[in-house]
Subunit: 464 residues, 2 copies
C-alpha cells in the first residue's frame, strides 16, 4: 500500500465505518456498517471471556477526584490527560469529577464492599465502555481518540499471588485466541519497567504491525500485584484464618482492534473482512437479462433462503444499478463472498462464487451450495490469517551481534532497518541494550522482551 495513512482515512469514510467529521477533535461516529463490525467483534470477545467465567458489569463514567488520585503512580500516569467535569447546571460542583480514563479506581472502590473472605474470590468481571483521554498528540480515527468508544476492560481479584499469575496467563490465552479468530498476527512482549501500566507490577502487551510498517499496541494485560489492593484496602480473611490483601490483574482491548481488522486485511480495492465479523458474509447479485428477470430473481431468493437457514448473514442486492457497480460496492465493503446469479448458470444448475480475499471466481453445483459456502467462509478466514502472518514475518528482522559489537554499531543497524524495512527488530537480549538510553539512541520504542523461536529477544519498533 503506497500511502497507508490516506488509504485508511478514505476507507473509513467510503466503507461507512466511522465518520470523523464530528466537531470535537478525536471524537467520531460509528456508522451502521462499522457498528456491526464492532458488534460481531465484541461478540467473539464476550464469548471468550464468559467461557472462562468472566461476568459483564457496568460502572459509572464519573470518578470523584479524590478516588482517582488515591493510587499515586496511577494518577501520575493519567493526570495530564483527564477531562474534568466541574459544573452541574450553572453551579460549580463540590468535588471535581473525572471522565474515566480507565476504571481501576472506580471498580476497586466497589470491590472493597464485595470482598470479605477468601470465598468471595476470585472476582472476574469486565465491562465495555467509553473512556476518555485528553490527547495532546495527533489524534487518529479508532487509533488515538479522545473518546475511546470501545474499551473492554477486565478486572480480577485473587486470594494468592499464584492465582493472579495464572490469571495473567488466562488473559494472554484469551487475547491470543481473540486475535487468532480475527486473523491479526501479534508479537507478545513484556513491556519494559519504564513503559508499564501506571500502578502495575508488570505489563504484557500485544502488538501488531500496520501496512506502513509501524507498530501498534492492540491489547495489554497487567499484573497489579497488591499495589491497588493495599491502597484500596482490599483485605480479606484467608483460608487459614489470617489476613491478606487480594492480588489483582486487569486487561484491556480498545477500538484499535477494529482499526486493525481494517488495516491488516484491506487492499487497494477496500476492506477484506474476516467472515466471523463481516456484517454481510455473502452478497447475492442477480444478473438481470431481458426476459429472464423473473427466473433470476426467483433463484436469488431461493439461494438467499437456503443460506439464511444455516445462519449465514446474507443479502440480495436488488438495487436497480449495473452489476459492475454492485461488485465494486461490496468489494469496497469487504464482503467475503459474492454469489452471481445469471440465466446461464441457472440452466446449468451451477452457481458462481467469488471470494474477496483472493479474487478467485469459480462455479459449483447448485446442490452443493450450503456446504460449499460454509466451507469457503472457513477457508477465507484461514487464508486471511495465513496471509497476514506471512506479511508480519516480513516485518520482523532478527538482528544478531557479537560479544564485542559496540552499542553504536547496533544502534546504527537498528536505525537502518527501521528506516528501510520498518516493522519490528528483534535483538538477542542484553542488559546493555535493554534501557531507555538505547531507546533514545535508536529513536524508536523498545516494545519489551519477547520470545521468538525459543530465544529471548528485545523487540524494537516505531509505534503509533
Amino acid at each position: 500500500m503506497e500511502n497507508f495513512s490516506q488509504w485508511y482515512s478514505e476507507i473509513l469514510e467510503r466503507a461507512e465505518i466511522y465518520d470523523v467529521r464530528y466537531p470535537i477533535k478525536g471524537c467520531g461516529v460509528y456508522l451502521p456498517y462499522g457498528f456491526k463490525i464492532r458488534r460481531y467483534t465484541l461478540d467473539i470477545l464476550r464469548g471468550l471471556l464468559e467461557e472462562r467465567g468472566h461476568e459483564e458489569v457496568l460502572f459509572p463514567l464519573l470518578i470523584p477526584e479524590d478516588l482517582l488520585a488515591k493510587e499515586g503512580e496511577h494518577i501520575k500516569g493519567f493526570e495530564d490527560e483527564v477531562f474534568w467535569v466541574t459544573h452541574g447546571g450553572r453551579k460549580p460542583l463540590e468535588v471535581k469529577l473525572a471522565l474515566r480514563p480507565t476504571s481501576e479506581t472506580a471498580i476497586y472502590y466497589m470491590m472493597k464492599l464485595w470482598i470479605k473472605v477468601h470465598k468471595d474470590l476470585p472476582i472476574k468481571i469486565y465491562q465495555v465502555v467509553n473512556t476518555f483521554r485528553y490527547e495532546t498528540k495527533h489524534t487518529r480515527p479508532l487509533i488515538r481518540l479522545r473518546e475511546i468508544m470501545t474499551f473492554k476492560e477486565a478486572h480480577t481479584a485473587h486470594a494468592t499471588r499464584e492465582d493472579a499469575e495464572n490469571q495473567v496467563g488466562e488473559a494472554i490465552d484469551i487475547y491470543r485466541e481473540f486475535f487468532h479468530e480475527l486473523g491479526i498476527p501479534v508479537i507478545i512482549s513484556r513491556r519494559p519497567e519504564w513503559d508499564k501500566f501506571p500502578g502495575a507490577e508488570y505489563t504484557v502487551a500485544f502488538d501488531t504491525v500496520f501496512p506502513d510498517g509501524r507498530v501498534i499496541q492492540i491489547g495489554t494485560v497487567h499484573n497489579l500485584g497488591q499495589n491497588f489492593s493495599r491502597t484500596f484496602d482490599l483485605e480479606f480473611e484467608t483460608l487459614e484464618g489470617g489476613k491478606d490483601y487480594v492480588y489483582q490483574t486487569c486487561y484491556g482491548i480498545s477500538d484499535r482492534v477494529i482499526a486493525s481488522i481494517i488495516a491488516i486485511h484491506g487492499d487497494e480495492r477496500g476492506l477484506i473482512l474476516p467472515p466471523n465479523v463481516a456484517p454481510i458474509q455473502v452478497v447475492i447479485i442477480p444478473l438481470l437479462f431481458k426476459g429472464k428477470r423473473e427466473i433470476v430473481e426467483r433463484k436469488a431468493e431461493e439461494l438467499y433462503k437456503l443460506l439464511k437457514e444455516i445462519g449465514i448473514r446474507v443479502e440480495i442486492d436488488k438495487r436497480d444499478i449495473r452489476p459492475g457497480r454492485k461488485f465494486h460496492h461490496w468489494e469496497l465493503r469487504g464482503v467475503p463472498v459474492r454469489i452471481e446469479v445469471g440465466p446461464k448458470d441457472i440452466e446449468d444448475k451451477v452457481v458462481t462464487l467469488y471470494r474477496r480475499d483472493t479474487g478467485e471466481k469459480y462455479k459449483i453445483k447448485e446442490e452443493d451450495i450450503k456446504g460449499e459456502v460454509l466451507d469457503l467462509l472457513e477457508r477465507i478466514g484461514k487464508n486471511m490469517r495465513e496471509r497476514a502472518e506471512g506479511r508480519m514475518k516480513g516485518y520482523i528482522t532478527l538482528l544478531d551481534y557479537k560479544e564485542d559489537t559496540s552499542i553504536e554499531e547496533i544502534v546504527g543497524r537498528v536505525k537502518e532497518i527501521l528506516k528501510k524495512k520498518r516493522g519490528i527488530v528483534l535483538i538477542p537480549f542484553s542488559g546493555k541494550i535493554y534501557n531507555e538510553d538505547f531507546e533514545e539512541k535508536v529513536e524508536a520504542s523498545i516494545l519489551g522482551v519477547t520470545e521468538y523461536n525459543g530465544g529471548k529477544y528485545i523487540a524494537v519498533g516505531r509505534t503509533y
Copy 2:
C-alpha cells in the same frame, strides 16, 4: 406490598442487580445478574427496532456548548441539568463540553452531512448509551439517575410530514410490543403542551403504575416536525426537485424499563422475572440423599443437557448447602422454573416442576420434559402479563361528571381517589380540566390525553 420503596431498595441489593453504594449521588453499578437482565431486555428491543429497519450507531458523549445551545427550546429544557466538562488535563478547554443529556443536537449536526436528496431518506438510527442529568430532585436507583446508564434513543428523518407521522405510529407499535413482551401494562397518552419534550411538536408517552400506586413514565415518542431540521439546516432536494427541511421523530427508553420489570412483577419473596429476560430460566436442584447422591447428580446433568440443547438458559445448583436455602436463593432472584431432582422421582420416571409466578408445584413424566418446560415458560410469561394487567386495571379509576359539576367538586374527587386508591384517574375530556391550573389544584400531574375503551380521557396521577 406494604412498603414498596423499601422492598425495591432491598431487592436491588439482595438479588444483586444494582449497587447504589458508588460514591456519587445518582450513580451506581450494574452487577452481573442485573446486567444480564439488562442484556436480554435490550436484545428484545434491538430485535424489534432492527426488524423495522433501524440501524444501530454510536455517537460521542461530549457535545460542544454552542451545538447544544443551537435549538432554543431544547437548551432551555436542559440547561439547568447539564454536566459541563471545562478542563482537559490541567488546562481549561476553549469550548465547554456538555455530557449529553440526550443526543438530538449531536446527531442532527451529523445528519446535515448525510442528507442531500430525498433518496437519502428516511434515516432510522438508534443507539444505546449513557446520558447525564444533574438532578436536583431526590434520586432513585434505575428510576431517577444522574448517570442514566441505559438510554436507547432512536432518531429518524423523513421526506414528508406524513412519513414522520407514520414513524410515530411505528415507534408506538414497537414500544407497545416491547412492553407486551415484558408483561408491563401501559397507558399511552399524548402529553399536554406544557409537558412535551423540549423542541418537539408533540410527545406521546408510555406510563405504568408501580405497586405504591405512583405513575412512572417508561417510554416517550416525539414528533419533532421541522423544529430541529430548520435549526440544523437539514434541507434536502425533494422528489419534485424543490427544497424542503426533513421531518423528524425521536423516541427513547431508559433504565426505567429494568426498574419496571422488577417493580411490576416482584412479590414479597423477591423478583419474578419474565422468562424471556431471566438470566437463568430454569434452575435444577439435586436433592441429595445418602447413598443416592450419584444417581441424582447424574439425572440432574442429564436434564441439564436436554434443556440446554433446546436453547434454555439452565443451571444446576451444585452448592453444598441445604435445598431449602437454594429454593430461597433462586426464588429471591426470580428464576421462573425450578426442577427438583430426587431419588423417588427418578424411580417413578417423573420430574417435579415448581413455577415461581404462582408457587405451584407439580410432577410430569420425565419423557415430556422438553415440551413441558418450553410450554411452561410460555404460560408463565402469559400469566405474568395478565396478572400485571389485572393489577393495572385496579389502579385505574374512571371519574364521571355531569355538565354542571363544578371544577372544585371534580378536584375534590380526584384528590380523594389519588389519596385513597392512588394510580391513574381518567376523566372524560374537557378543556376546562385540561390545563395547568387544574394540575396545580389536584396536586398531581396531568399525564395527557388518552383513549380508553373508545372514549377520550384526561389521565391524572402522581408521578415519579
